[in-house]
Amino acid sequence: MTLIAAKDTPATDTRAPEKAERPQGYWHGVAKRVLRDKATMFCLLVLLLMFLAIVFAPLIAPYDPYVGSIARRLKPVGTPGYLLGTDELGRDMLTRLLYGGRLSWFIGIMPVAIAFVIGSSLGIIAGFAGGWLNMLIMRATDVFYAFPSVLLAVAVSGALGPGIFNAILALTLVFIPPLIRISESTTAGVRALDYVEAARATGAGPFTIIRVHVLPNVMGPIFVYATGLISVAMILGAGLSFLGLGTRPPEAEWGLMLNTLRTSLYNKPLLAMLPGICIFVTSICFNMVSDGLRGAMEVKN
């Protein structure tokens, strides 16, 4: 009832119920704003469905992802029995797309997750400690900023050689520096606030201050920033496989599938486009969710 009322009142009046809800806490408000944001909720739903589909791939997928028959290679989309057609080795596309999502999501999320842990720790330490420690960490970060991200990923995984582990290692290295920077500047901003000074005056040690006062205030913005990186990681990770640097055949992975289907682009364009559509949808949804979260959390911008 209150929701409807708040929605129908003119824009100038919406502040009043918002203020009344204040005691329920900041995160409550964020959740409420996200729930009200149709585009973000839709994208969350799409991501959730995709996640369930790839987790339960063995149950949903009609065929074995590695077994094919040359006799039925490159069947078009909509062939009876092969809903999305078959690939260049006659393997069922739907099955391979479902299984491919597992590796693509893994390569998209793992590097960001690892970089989130390492980058935010280093960034918070640098931002909180200041002085020579800050200098050391931030100058090292600058060096990696001197490489365009794609180039760094290609350079490292190119030197290490192909493989999923090497690709994840290379991508992690790409995402640590931006996460250090954002964590450092957010932490330095919080550290300068009066209540941190007050906590220090009451005799709280640095670890208590970080745990009680800094972490709860910086983790949100850092997390939102990291979710925005997932979309980039997805594109780059699949891109490395597309170049032949990430996963290797016969593994199912969207970027690699896009690469092996490239020669079929001229006679079966729709079929060859399918893995790319999966990457695109995932990446745009992660971007939209990240934007929605950012909007819901930073009311001022």
């Binding site: 050689g161 594109i235 170049l243 745009i284």
Partner: protein
Amino acid sequence: MIFYIVRRVLYSIPIALSVGLVCFLLVYISPGDPISAIAPPDAPAEMITQLRRDYGLDKPLPEQFAIWLGRVVQGDLGRSLSTGRPVWGEVSVALKNTVSLAVAACTLAFAIGTLLGGLAAAFRDTWVDRIAMTFAVAGVSVPHYWLGMLLVAVFAVTFPLAPSMGAGPGGTFVWDWAHLPFLILPMVTLSAIPLGLVARTVRGTVIEILHQEFITTLRGKGLRSGGILLHVAKNAAPSVLAVMGLQLGYLMGGSILVETVFSWPGTGFLLNSAIFQRDIPLLQGTILVLALLFVALNLVVDLGQALLDPRIKR
């Protein structure tokens, strides 16, 4: 101001040196003994020892770095293992093609991105804004190598309007009418990401400027919207140009995927072949040149921004 410029230029020197160090170490993170990439697989032990001495691989790492750096400063990036030609020669030819492509893509992204972002800001929260921003999000989220394939499928296969392979007659790109059609599809593909970023930056910056008091003053004294546009453009220019400058660098370093799709004979294509022939000197040299170019571009962007925007006094 002079002090800032000098400090910023001096600061690039340790950065460039560290970039060199990272590139130098690339050889050592690649699996196996670096000598195995140079020597034939059935080489006798004496020959390997000889080669090791010739290439200075028996010296301690810091000394090797110093020797390598000394050669690089003189423009000697070593020889490609697969072709035997000097790396610098290979890179400089490829670099011209990459720069042509990146500059073209950047210009296109700047033109359309500014238009979309400006329209979105002017018609904020209307359908114009929503459509423009959907385009922008799609631009930054699209796997551009896939977009390239899509454009090939549509504009080279279904409707044969533009060539989809290579850079035109002679194998390298030249700015003339015979080569221009070859530029179209790779250029459009490569412009997707910066287009989205520029549109978002322009929208954010313009909205911020429109909220400032001097705009109200200008409106109050009766200035027409054309005149206000001029003021907005002047104020938005530094941050938008900074984004553009950095994007140009990202495009030069990141065009490997697009160059692979279109067989564009640039540095990305070179990197690709270096990786698959395990041609480590070529890989190292190409990455070093691209990264140093990026460092230089960063420097130019920072200095340009400081010159354009008198408020920056760092």
